[in-house]
């Protein structure tokens, strides 16, 4: 009797191969895609209300994108060989192709867009600061100090194009992660054409929620007035995106239950037992239905400013937890049941191990630290300047 194993599993299935760090990875790239989509709302879809969060969304996306490869590196048996994915990519492998999507997104979309957006500020800061800060800003100008109206017009045009390319790129960035799971015919919990779409929408939800929470946090810390019009708009988009995401996930569940194919019995049992807490309680009830209720309430009734702030903050934090639970349920859930459909194993998270809890906490904390550094380096808001809809 192997501890943690119920029923029959293939002998090599006892140990889970993709653990906590592989759960973290789609979560982080999801936040990137979501934050970027929020930023693109302003630039491409001209939703002026969310302008105050445009720069913050970009910086958030960058911070998370920089951290994204780290959980994977820790997870690999031989991280020193990871360059092979770029040197000899196997074209039939979604994972290999993803390496290029990541690189494309980082270099051509995100970094370029941030540079174009901040160029005027960088040039100004290069001229006004001293010491090592001056050096940093001078480097960031990349040699171009032309901030004439003509140059700025070109910047805006290019930035618009980059954002337009960036939206499908963001879709590709996270859709690909969904495809990496969705294309595995050996695993019925993963194998589904819906997987990339579900991943993408849940990514958007988590990203928007993250920017919302960060915006509120930064305004509080900097003691700057909060733009309620912006906040209300973000919450509205969060609500609608979440409705779509939830519908997609329910569609998957309902279809599975209705079709009841060979795998259904074992998966159903798994959800009712091993995955009950993380899927039904955490992901669905607390992580989806509750924030949806909070957000829906704000679409139906008008609450006071302080009430709204509390509800939005709660909703976004619950959402972020719920989407993490979703990633957990997909990745871990897909490995808890045996491919023989006759048994289950257990996942034990180590604490101080390479792929353990401590590493995960560190990796999740890192992007927030980076975003604080980025916000200091490239301030999203001119200090002390209140915007029209600002409230204390």
């Amino acid at each position: 009797m192997i501890p943690g194993v119920d029923g029959f599993i293939y002998p090599n299935e006892v140990e889970l191969q993709w653990g906590l760090l592989v759960v973290l990875y789609p979560y982080i790239t999801g936040l990137v895609a979501g934050a970027f989509i929020l930023a693109s709302l302003e630039r491409v879809f001209k939703v002026e209300a969310v302008r105050p969060t445009y720069r913050l969304a970009l910086l958030t996306a960058l911070a998370f994108l920089l951290v994204a490869p780290l959980p994977l590196q820790l997870h690999l048996g031989h991280p020193e060989r990871s360059l092979e994915m770029y040197l000899t990519p196997h074209r039939s492998s979604a994972m290999a192709m993803f390496g290029f999507v990541y690189l494309w997104y980082l270099m051509v979309v995100l970094l370029l867009e941030i540079w174009l957006e901040y160029r005027a500020d960088i040039v100004r800061l290069a001229q006004t600061t001293t010491g090592w800060q001056r050096l940093v800003y001078k480097l960031l100008t990349l040699g171009s100090e032309n901030v004439s109206p003509e140059a700025r017009r070109i910047d805006d045009k290019v930035s618009y194009i980059v954002t337009v390319i960036g939206i499908p790129s963001a879709f590709l960035l996270h859709g690909y992660v969904g495809f990496i799971f969705g294309s595995i015919k050996a695993n019925p919990w993963w194998s589904s054409p819906l997987m990339p779409i579900v991943f993408l929408f849940s990514a958007m939800v988590s990203g928007i929620a993250a920017v919302l929470a960060l915006y509120m946090a930064f305004m509080k810390v900097k003691k700057m007035p909060l733009d309620m019009g912006c906040l209300d708009t973000i919450a509205k988009y969060l609500f609608y995106t979440f409705v779509i995401d939830f519908s997609l996930e329910m569609l998957d569940l309902v279809q599975r239950t209705y079709e009841a194919d060979e795998s259904f019995r074992t998966l159903d049992f798994m959800v009712h037992t091993r995955l009950w807490g993380s899927q039904v309680i955490l992901q669905i009830c607390v992580g989806t239905l509750l924030p949806l209720a909070l957000l829906a309430a704000n679409q139906l009734c008008r609450f006071s400013v302080s009430r709204r702030k509390a509800m939005y903050l709660a909703a976004s934090l619950l959402t972020m937890m719920g989407i993490f639970a979703m990633r957990w349920n997909v990745v871990i859930g897909g490995q808890l049941f045996s491919k023989s459909f006759l048994g289950y194993t257990t996942y034990k998270v180590g604490f101080a191990a390479r792929e353990g809890l401590l590493s995960a906490i560190g990796l999740m904390a890192l992007p927030f630290i980076i975003v604080v550094v980025l916000v200091k380096l490239l301030p999203p808001w001119a200090e002390g300047k209140p915007s029209e809809n600002a409230v204390g």
Binding site: L83, Y86, L87, T88, H90, R91, M107, L142
Partner: protein, 136 residues
């Protein structure tokens, strides 16, 4: 800047990736040689026949004729390399015979199987059966 990055990348690629990568498919052909060159642990029963023709004669005429020598005697490639230096241990009869011949519902009906405790009352199997030619 991008072009510079591309040049560096191609340079690294030329150095790190073996020239014949992709010759037979998307992999390093050198791997085939490396894997083929692994050491062998089981010599194969034909090797045993070259020296042990007496045992082979007895074995070849009995019910165990199709059972390879190393199935009971363990991996013996080291022994064929240097017979006097690597003398194989005799198999543990108590457990060895039981593994195949203990009666079990899942074993094919035509296969010789007994409830060993009832059959031998605790005596070792080779008290009565000659392992190379076990019929009585």
């Amino acid at each position: 800047m991008l072009l510079g990055g591309l040049v560096v990348f191609l340079a690294i690629r030329a150095v790190v990736v073996p020239k014949d990568f992709g010759k037979f498919g998307h992999y390093r052909p050198g791997a085939l040689e490396t894997i083929s060159a692994r050491s062998i642990a089981y010599a194969g029963h034909e090797q045993c026949l070259q020296c042990h023709d007496q045992e082979a004669k007895v074995h070849g005429g009995g019910m165990h004729a199709k059972v390879s020598c190393e199935t009971c005697h363990g991996p013996l490639a080291k022994h064929t390399d240097d017979p006097t230096a690597n003398v194989p241990k005799l198999p543990d009869v108590a457990n060895l015979c039981r593994r195949c011949h203990e009666k079990d519902a899942a074993k094919p009906k035509g296969f010789h199987q007994v409830d060993t405790l009832a059959h031998s009352q605790g005596m070792l199997c080779n008290s009565c059966h000659q392992p190379h030619n076990p019929q009585l």
